[in-house]
């Protein structure tokens, strides 16, 4: 089959590239609607406080101000999985940066000036800052009303009168007995700080409230239909009243899934008499008002026999969810069912607690839960290998999931899962694992190699679905309509390749419609979890087959042969045994007209759909069940050089092996891998929120919160893409978009041990931390 593919698997350039290199690509930031007002926010200076009084009279009196809102009049709860969030803080503020007052005015300058005139009186409360302390009895409660919040029942388990938004358990075998009989055991603690997604386009939304209870919404979102649904639930209006459009989106990485600024823009527009209102997050608000990745405290305990076979693993994950657990509860859930790494663990015990604190709240971030837990797991696996005097690659190979074994939630591992061991070996080989690093001229520099495994499955509801519609144009070309969003991953280009392949059309005759619009594009849950090429790809295959059926039907009548005698190729339908008898799609797309004027058929529209199948809720007590539509496995191997005078790390080479099942577009796939690896370097080496003792966020800007620049890229990167097909995937493909950043920190931490002999357990591995550790003054926290 592979040999016949014309477009799938080919390095085709992005469909949107011309728009993006010319400046023609229009993002929500760039849009203006006639009569549009601009919004600005007053945010909380305190991590936890009662709102005593708000005086907005001077702001309201300022000429050009059209609406001023406080939380008092907005009795709505928002949230994807846990409806615990307000549009504006009501009675209390729960994190520094939380919106308290919003102003809509004729100009942004006026809106900001009005915000400066607002007086808010607070009564400060003791903030809850450490999630481990938040678990203690007697801790102040971030949400005393937790028991009243709506949430996805049967999946998430908030614990009333505590700070626990969700507790996910995994129980397999008998951990206590197995650890007691293990020859070698290890316990270690790890920490990941909260970090930001940093899309280059900050969150933005324009909403125009229309009579009666209708609204037009333009938003920089990953999830047009989820925005529509959650708005519908929040405001109690029918779905059809809300039209959500998503133009080009300047990066998302999970941070633009769910619902963000749209409800605020909606209530402001209503308050301003239906004038459209644009809300754009400043970069500072992107850091400390919009959500982040949660921090994580991990404790990992492993037991193995003398031969290096893991018998038991226990992990406790305490998530710093921040003030709201809206989406974050699912991070804790996914982290639990993935929480032992891609290994065979016959006796497993995992507790994952999603804990409220008075900090910026968490949400999905590229591979959510996995970079975090695998930082601990992959470091612990390396430490364990040393205790066993085994090579880290050999130890991993001995314990990786393989056919005949089951995951920690009881899912049988099959050939269709791909090859974790193949990824391990490919990555190891790529950096000449086992061969010492070349000597360094400078005596103050040392080198080391490290390796780490990764895995992830889409974390999504059991009923997640999507659809595709293909309509043929007058000239026989095809328009593909979907509602997943391509915010840079390249999925639309891949869908175009698939549609061209399946429709037997030249690729230039296929168009995927940019600007999702819930009024016209068919349903898609959210563009998250590396699921869109997989699910959207399957839906497009089905929609194309539907079109082809219709083309063959009409062509068979027109040509006077049976439908199965009609072959389609290169935009033409012809008779299999007599290829000269042919009709181009252009003469079939709207219906076929005979010479005498009689017509048959009609406009051709194909429909395709896909729904996750066979997934189950996890058992609340044991976590057993099927959470994963498919898994993607991979490994990173890295060689680093450390300057022992400064603590500076240079990445000499980083090799990434992923079992993609089928590489649908090698150029775009490699682009995802390189970009993900460098984003992973950010988490590994530099990124992390810093709070003061009162919970104020100290580094909400690029000067103090460093993301990788062009100067920080590795000297060499390698991408190795394995193709062990996923039986349910389009052409055997799996999702790979999130995976490249997972376990980059673990691989570097392991290489640091190889270079320096120091066990690092806390991220980021910045120069300061490394230098202090080299001087014997730090690390170990």
């Amino acid at each position: 089959m592979t040999a016949e593919l014309r477009y799938v698997g080919k390095p085709i350039s992005r469909d949107d590239a011309v728009d993006k290199v010319t400046g023609a690509a229009r993002y929500t930031h760039d849009l203006a609607v006639p009569g549009m007002l601009h919004a600005a926010l007053v945010t909380s200076p305190h991590a936890s406080a009662k709102i005593v009084r708000i005086d907005a009279s001077a702001a309201s009196a300022l000429p050009g101000v059209r609406a001023v809102l406080t939380g008092g009049g907005l009795d709505y709860h928002l949230g994807l999985y846990m409806q615990d969030k307000r549009i504006l803080a009501r009675n209390v503020v729960r994190y520094q940066g939380e919106p308290v007052v919003a102003v809509a005015a004729d100009t942004l300058d006026t809106a900001r000036e009005a915000c400066r005139l607002v007086r808010v009186e607070y009564d400060r409360l003791d903030p809850v800052l450490d999630p481990r302390e938040a678990l203690a009895k007697g801790s102040p409660l971030v949400h005393p009303d937790l028991d009243t919040y709506e949430h996805m029942r049967g999946v998430f388990f908030p614990q009333p009168r505590t700070n626990i938004a969700h507790h996910q358990k995994v129980r397999k075998g008998d951990f206590d007995t197995a650890i007691a009989s293990a020859d070698v055991t290890l316990t270690a603690k790890f920490y990941n700080p909260p970090v930001q997604h940093v899309p280059m386009e900050t969150h933005a939304a324009i909403v125009q409230a229309l009579p009666v209870d209708r609204a037009e919404i333009w938003t920089s979102s990953q999830s047009p239909y989820t925005v529509r649904h959650l708005m519908s639930v929040c405001f109690g209006v029918p779905h059809a009243n809300l039209r959500v459009r998503v133009p080009y989106v300047g990066g998302g990485f999970g941070g633009k899934a769910g619902l963000h600024l749209e409800p605020l823009a909606y209530v402001l527009s209503k308050a301003a008499g239906g004038r459209p209102v644009k809300v754009v997050a400043t970069r500072e608000q992107e850091f400390n008002t919009l959500p982040s990745r949660q921090g994580l405290h991990s404790t990992v305990e492993i037991g193995a026999d003398r031969d290096g076979v893991i018998g038991a693993l226990k992990a406790t994950y305490v998530w710093d969810a921040g003030a709201y657990a809206d989406y974050g509860v699912n991070v804790g859930r996914a982290a639990a069912y993935s929480g032992a790494g891609p290994y065979v663990v016959p006796n497993c015990w995992i507790d994952s607690y999603v804990v409220y604190t008075n900090k910026i709240f968490g949400t999905a971030y590229r591979g959510f839960g996995h970079l975090e837990v695998l930082w601990g797991i992959e470091r612990a696996i390396d430490m364990m290998a040393r205790k066993l005097a085994m090579d880290p690659v050999e130890f991993r190979r001995a314990n990786l999931l393989r056919e005949g074994e089951t995951t920690i939630t009881g899912e049988p591992f099959t050939a269709g899962h791909g090859s974790p061991v193949g990824c391990l070996d490919a990555a190891a080989q790529a950096i000449a694992w086992g061969r010492p690093s070349d000597p360094v001229d400078e005596p103050y520099k040392v080198r080391g190699k490290g390796i780490a495994m990764l895995h992830k499955a889409p974390a999504m509801p059991t009923y997640t679905s999507c659809a595709a519609v293909i309509k043929l144009d007058e000239d026989g070309a095809a328009d593909v309509l979907v509602s997943g969003v391509d915010y840079g991953q390249g999925t639309y280009t891949v869908l175009k390749q698939i549609a061209a392949e399946e429709l037997r059309l030249p690729i230039d005759s296929v168009h995927v419609t940019w600007d999702c619009d819930t009024a016209f594009s068919p349903y898609d849950w959210q563009t998250v979890a590396s699921r869109f090429a997989y699910m959207g790809g399957n839906a497009v295959i089905e929609a194309a087959a539907d079109c082809l059926r219709q083309i063959r039907d009409v062509a068979s009548s027109a040509l006077g042969v049976a439908a199965d005698e009609v072959v389609c190729e290169n935009g033409t339908a012809f008779v299999k045994t007599d290829p000269d008898r042919r009709i181009p799609y252009a003469q079939l797309a709207l219906g076929y007209t005979f010479e005498n004027g009689n017509s048959i058929g009609g406009p051709i529209i194909g429909r395709g759909r896909y729904i996750a199948t066979g997934l189950t809720h996890l058992d609340p007590q044991t976590g057993q069940g099927l959470p994963a539509q498919y898994w993607t496995y991979g490994a990173h191997a890295v060689e680093i050089e450390v300057d022992t005078r400064t603590g500076e790390i240079e990445i000499l080479d980083i090799a990434t092996a992923l079992d993609a099942g089928k590489v649908l577009n090698p150029k775009l796939c490699v682009g995802q891998v390189v970009g993900g690896v460098v984003q992973g370097l950010g988490s590994a080496l530099w990124e992390g929120f810093v709070f003061d003792k009162d919970g104020r966020f100290l580094n909400p800007a690029f000067v103090d919160y460093k993301i990788p620049t062009a100067k920080d890229i590795p000297r060499s990167t390698q991408q190795i893409l394995l193709e062990n097909p996923q039986p349910g995937g389009p052409y055997g493909a799996r999702g790979v978009a999130e995976h490249p950043m997972i376990s980059v920190p673990g691989a570097i931490g392991n290489a640091l041990h190889d270079a320096l002999g120091i066990e690092f357990t806390t991220l980021p591995l910045n120069y300061e931390r490394i230098l202090l550790a080299i001087r014997g003054a730090g690390e170990g926290t």
Binding site: S13, E201, A710
Partner: protein
């Protein structure tokens, strides 16, 4: 207080009356509707708003519109000519150097400035030239490759004239003055010191 200014933008003569506080970025995006230039931070830290001011790359969010009086401004919209992509733009496409695309206009303008002052840049020069342009998607490798390839294919060919034309579309404009160094010294920044962030 408002000021009347004259400038050329992508070869087009423009006259604008601007408040003293208006930035060049606001002038481009809001008054001239050239939304290809992006705002990523508004405080000169991300490079998304990079444009060329008299041939030198500046972050337009840190330049007042009045400072551009008499200057020649080039933005991403001026990169293609006669409906044809520039060699640089085509190289970005071929190398897969745009993903979400939000940093791309600024990247292209930084690269344009580099190629005009150094037609055969080393990889080190390329990295220096774009070190002030943040990208969260690509990991920069493909961008460096695109600029290298553009330089290779431009070499031996006539490169774009760097001097501004004084009369465009028949309209005479004030003679451009030399731009001050302003933010153009970005390329001279010290190596990024990433140690502090957390």
């Amino acid at each position: 207080m408002s000021h009347e200014i004259f400038l050329t933008v992508n070869g087009q003569a423009e006259r604008a009356t601007v408040p003293a506080s208006m930035t060049l970025l606001e002038l481009l995006r809001e008054s001239l509707h050239l939304t290809g230039t992006k705002e990523g931070c508004g405080i000169g830290e991300c490079g998304a708003c990079t444009v060329l001011l008299d041939g030198l790359p500046v972050t337009a969010c840190l330049v007042l519109a009045v400072e551009a009086d008499g200057c020649e401004v080039r933005t991403v919209e001026g990169e293609a000519s006669d409906g044809r992509l520039s060699v640089l733009q085509q190289a970005f496409i071929d190398a897969g150097a745009a993903q979400c695309g939000f940093c791309t206009p600024g990247m292209i303008m930084s690269a344009r400035a580099l190629l005009e002052r150094s037609p055969s840049p080393s990889d080190g020069e390329i990295v220096e030239a774009i070190a002030g342009n943040l990208c969260r998607c690509t990991g920069y490798e493909s961008i460096v490759q695109a600029i290298r390839r553009a330089a290779e294919s431009l070499n031996g060919r006539e490169t774009r004239k760097s001097g501004p034309s004084l009369a465009v579309n028949g309209q005479a404009v004030k003679r451009p003055r030399r731009a001050k160094a302003r933010d153009a010294s970005r390329a001279d920044r010290p190596r990024s010191t990433q140690g502090g962030g957390g």
